[in-house]
């Protein structure tokens, strides 16, 4: 299958809170069936805005001014709310950033996992529970019975993120949007979570849009990458190409800015002012 699962074309948006300032400028990107695309940039680059636009959860203050989000041949932006609702949480699922707040603290894990299965896959309570148990085993939780009966605060951050990954893949979506899913976690746990997401998506052929600010994570989990600055796509391509032969000076500068434990003399190069000047000129902001 070579067809694209997701194609974003000419997506533009402005923020009313910032006085109509553009937050997305003519963004285009594609995601292949079963591919993993990194959406990377520093804060304010617009990577989360794109994710939110796809999920239809943009804040009221952000207005889309043009473009299409084509998911399996249909434009998400022109869909009716109830059509969208039937797609979200079943064909498109989200792995959220903060495992602390994404789970309801007052309900048991099992009940929360079963919700999606009952609602989106029409399972009976009993089937849903059996299925949830299996899912927890799939995300390599050692003691799924105990976790089913636990409340979120009884689990570690890494465990909670596993539960959320299970919940996202539970509905057998075709597209998973992972919104900085490891920023709240320790590095050792982060690696396990990255590996888990990779396993889950490759076993099921799920397409993943991975939002992150870390080029290192992109290098290790994505096959293609889109780099943004101030709402504009700066560089795009297969991960290896972009990292080894970046086209844009900004991409090069970003790679050089990150410190590296294996090369103490490299890294820590501040992005030169000239690069920012050029970028702003290119984008057309003063």
């Amino acid at each position: 299958m070579t067809e694209n699962l997701l194609t974003v074309t000419g997506l533009s948006a402005v923020s009313d809170r910032e006085g109509g300032m553009p937050v997305l400028r003519d963004v285009g990107l594609t995601l292949k069936n079963g591919g993993v695309r990194g959406l990377v940039g520093e804060s304010g680059a617009g990577k989360s805005t794109i994710a939110k636009a796809i999920l239809g959860i943009l804040p009221r203050t952000v207005r889309i001014t043009g473009g299409w989000i084509n998911f399996k041949g249909r434009d998400l932006l022109s869909m009716k709310p109830q059509e969208l609702r039937s797609i979200m949480g079943s064909e498109i699922a989200l792995i959220p950033q903060d495992p602390q707040t994404a789970l309801n603290p007052a309900r048991r894990i099992g009940a929360q996992l079963a919700d999606g299965l009952k609602l989106k896959r029409d399972m009976s309570a009993r089937t849903a529970e059996a299925h949830a148990l299996q899912l927890l085993a799939d995300v390599q939780i050692r003691d799924p019975d105990r976790v089913m009966k636990s409340f979120p605060h009884q689990l570690s951050g890494g465990m909670r993120q596993r539960v959320l990954i299970a919940a996202a893949f539970a509905v057998e979506p075709e597209l998973v949007i992972a919104d900085e899913p490891t920023t709240a976690l320790d590095v050792t746990v982060q690696k396990e979570i990255l590996r888990l997401i990779r396993h889950m998506q490759s076993a099921r052929g799920t397409g993943v849009l991975f939002v992150t600010h870390d080029l290192g994570i992109v290098a290790q989990i994505c096959d293609s990458v889109t780099l943004l600055y101030a709402g504009k796509v700066i560089e795009e391509g297969p991960v290896r190409n972009v990292l080894e032969n970046p086209n844009h000076a900004y991409t090069k500068a970003l790679i050089a800015a990150g410190p590296r434990y294996d090369r103490p003399d490299a890294g820590l190069e501040p992005v030169p002012e000239a690069v920012f000047r050029e970028l702003r000129q290119e984008i057309g902001i003063s």
Binding site: Q220, P259, G267
Partner: protein, 275 residues
């Protein structure tokens, strides 16, 4: 003169231990006997994951949390249990830069007030005008315009706020600075600036520094010596070249192997390290 500025031995810290009117809370030990020494002009990294106790250790060194056992000596003087009033003059010499620059700047004070206040308190400047002169020259050093002075913290960007935090510490002409996860909230490009700035300042001023971070790459970039902590204990220590080239503790190795580097490495995700 002793070449060590700050020496802490057998530090234990336990949280939540106090007898209340209605029974006492259970106590949680967070540090189980930590030894650490920081030489004059040396930058020492303290690295660990959450729950390692690295932040508590830093705060214990500055006497911001009470230690339940052990000894802290600053410039040859035992400061473990001296009262706060005796601690106060020493505070000028031991400064701190915080993780969250927004939370560490009083939202109701202007930058001018935040920076000049401590100078006047310690008599480093005789009057407000002299204080302002000193503040301006340090602002210039951290590349912030004097126009910042009349602003409130929420009017600055994250990177600018962090440079205010650095300026505040440097203004006191300290001997020792504790930097606690100071770049974890910043973007890579801003982070590189802040770290470079701190590195050159510490060299110029001959500062001793304890640099706390969860990020080994950052530690490697700025530190001479490193302590690796886990669950309230030091699991490995040594000069950076040595620890990073051939880590002796399995945990250090696992930490290093878990860092995703921005380079093509198809085997990385599946490589596992035993801890």
């Amino acid at each position: 003169m002793d070449q060590n500025l700050l020496v802490a031995t057998g530090i234990k810290v336990t949280y939540g231990k106090h007898a209340g009117l209605f029974g006492s809370k259970p106590s949680t030990p967070v540090l189980h006997g930590v030894d650490i020494r920081i030489g004059r002009g040396q930058t020492v990294g303290i690295v660990g994951e959450s729950g390692s106790g690295k932040t508590t250790l830093g705060r214990a060194l500055l006497r911001l949390v009470d230690v339940s056992a052990g000894k802290i000596a600053f410039d040859g003087r035992d400061i473990t249990h001296i009262p706060e009033t005796e601690m106060r003059p020493l505070r000028r010499r031991m400064q701190m830069i915080f993780q969250d620059p927004m939370a560490s700047l009083n939202p109701r004070h202007t930058i001018r007030r935040i920076l000049t206040g401590p100078l006047l308190l310690h008599g480093l400047a005789g009057d407000a005008a002299t204080a302002l002169e000193q503040v301006k020259s340090v602002l210039d050093r951290v590349s912030l315009p004097a126009a910042c002075l009349e602003r409130y913290p929420h009017e600055l960007s994250g990177g600018q706020r962090q440079r205010i935090g650095i300026a505040r510490a440097v203004l006191m002409q300290p001997d020792f600075v504790l930097a606690d996860e100071i770049v974890s909230g910043l973007d890579v490009s801003t982070q590189a600036q802040a770290l470079r700035l701190l590195k050159s300042l510490s060299r110029e001023l001959g500062l001793a520094m304890a640099f706390i971070s969860h990020d080994l790459s950052v530690i490697r970039a700025v530190c001479d010596y490193v302590y690796v902590m886990r669950l309230g204990k030091v699991v490995e220590e040594g000069p950076c070249e040595q620890v990073f080239a051939s880590p002796s503790a399995a945990y250090t190795r696992a930490l290093l192997d878990a860092i995703p580097l921005p380079e093509y490495d198809p085997g990385w995700l599946e490589r596992r390290t035993e801890t």
